[in-house]
């Protein structure tokens, strides 16, 4: 990770000032930090262009009827990892698919309207994939914290 990849202090302050409300005016951010509005605008543009920062509408899963959230750990034959993770990534309900070290070599996160639909996805789309050895589902009971991050493209 080179020095250029991370944010300098002012960039970080600007990003933090915008964190809770991504639509906050640059004028207000400039006022809070005691800097020029043009500086905020230019810094944000530069961070956006470099893929370091983005502004996104995020949804409350419970408010849009997605009541069943689960971690799905999957043991996959190693020689099939690319095929299986490619297929898993194409499932809409899986917003998160990773290749891991640990008990499971693939971990996914599913957001579904109901347990029935999660069950359908697991039995009809996941367990049938060649290379899937076993799955273990951990349904989420309570969310205490859920922040979002993203990765720079091609990083």
């Amino acid at each position: 990770l080179s020095h250029d990849d991370t944010l300098d202090t002012l960039d970080m302050e600007i990003a933090q000032a915008l964190e809770q409300d991504g639509r906050e005016s640059f004028r207000e951010v400039a006022r809070q930090l005691g800097i020029a509005e043009g500086t905020v605008r230019a810094r944000v543009r530069k961070m956006q262009d470099a893929g370091k920062l983005c502004f996104q509408a995020l949804l409350n899963p419970r408010a849009v009827g997605l009541n069943c959230i689960a971690y799905v750990g999957i043991a996959v034959k190693d020689e099939m990892l690319t095929d299986v993770t490619g297929a898993l990534a194409s499932i809409d309900a899986f917003v998160y698919v990773t290749v891991n070290l640990g008990r499971f070599n693939v971990v996914c996160m599913a957001f579904c309207p109901s347990r029935e639909e999660l069950g359908e996805i697991l039995t009809q789309k996941v367990m049938v994939l060649p290379g899937v050895i076993r799955t273990e589902t951990m349904e989420v009971l309570q969310i205490f914290r859920m922040d979002n991050h993203f990765r720079q493209r091609g990083a």
């Binding site: 991370t6 964190e19 920062l53 502004f55 949804l59 849009v64 990534a89 194409s90 971990v107 914290r145």
Partner: protein
């Protein structure tokens, strides 16, 4: 045939063929199931704000074909109703914590919400959820490097009262990472 099918069903036309598994998604639309509960104007606002969270009210009103005050009111209602909020996301690389891990935790002898509150305070913790199954809590964590991860396991996670055992799953590759949901 299966390969072709996957390619077609990839989000945003990304190539999901073997060897091109890396398809990190930063701005896709939510699954269609999400929109069943919303009217068409709200759906359009959300879709446009998924593409660019800072799109102006004027641009939104022109694209959707409704009055500017209506757009403003709709955004406010979505926000106040805890349905949608526009947040600023910093990439894992830019935040200096490029390693992602999921830590499964078993607890005992202390209320889970208290344990969760302590875990939420740890630098680099992204998510904390209680779960049914093998673990009691699943924690998303992003680390500066392996040394930082090692130290956090011993000195931070391991020392939270009520944490019984830890099992760390370190991500080698994020095949799909869609920032879509938030707590409100």
């Amino acid at each position: 045939v299966a390969t072709e099918k996957r390619k077609e069903s990839g989000p945003k036309g990304q190539d999901l063929r073997p060897g091109n598994a890396r398809l990190i998604t930063t701005s896709p639309q939510p699954p269609p199931a999400v929109f069943q509960h919303l009217d068409s104007i709200d759906v359009q606002i959300i879709q446009l704000l998924r593409e660019d969270g800072r799109m102006t009210v004027r641009a939104l009103s022109q694209k959707i074909g409704i009055a500017e005050p209506t757009v403003g009111n709709r955004i406010k209602a979505l926000h106040d109703g805890r349905v949608m909020k526009v947040k600023t996301l910093i990439s894992l690389e830019a935040s200096g914590r490029p390693l992602a891990a999921i830590i499964g935790i078993r607890t005992s002898g202390r209320a889970i919400d208290k344990i969760a509150a302590d875990l939420s305070e740890i630098d680099g913790v992204v998510s904390v959820m209680s779960v049914l199954g093998r673990f009691d809590l699943c924690v998303g964590f992003s680390a500066v490097n392996l040394e930082d991860l090692r130290n956090a396991l011993e000195k931070e996670f391991g020392r939270v009262r009520g944490v019984n055992s830890l099992e760390c799953q370190l991500a080698l590759e994020e095949v799909k990472l869609t920032p879509l949901w938030a707590t409100f």
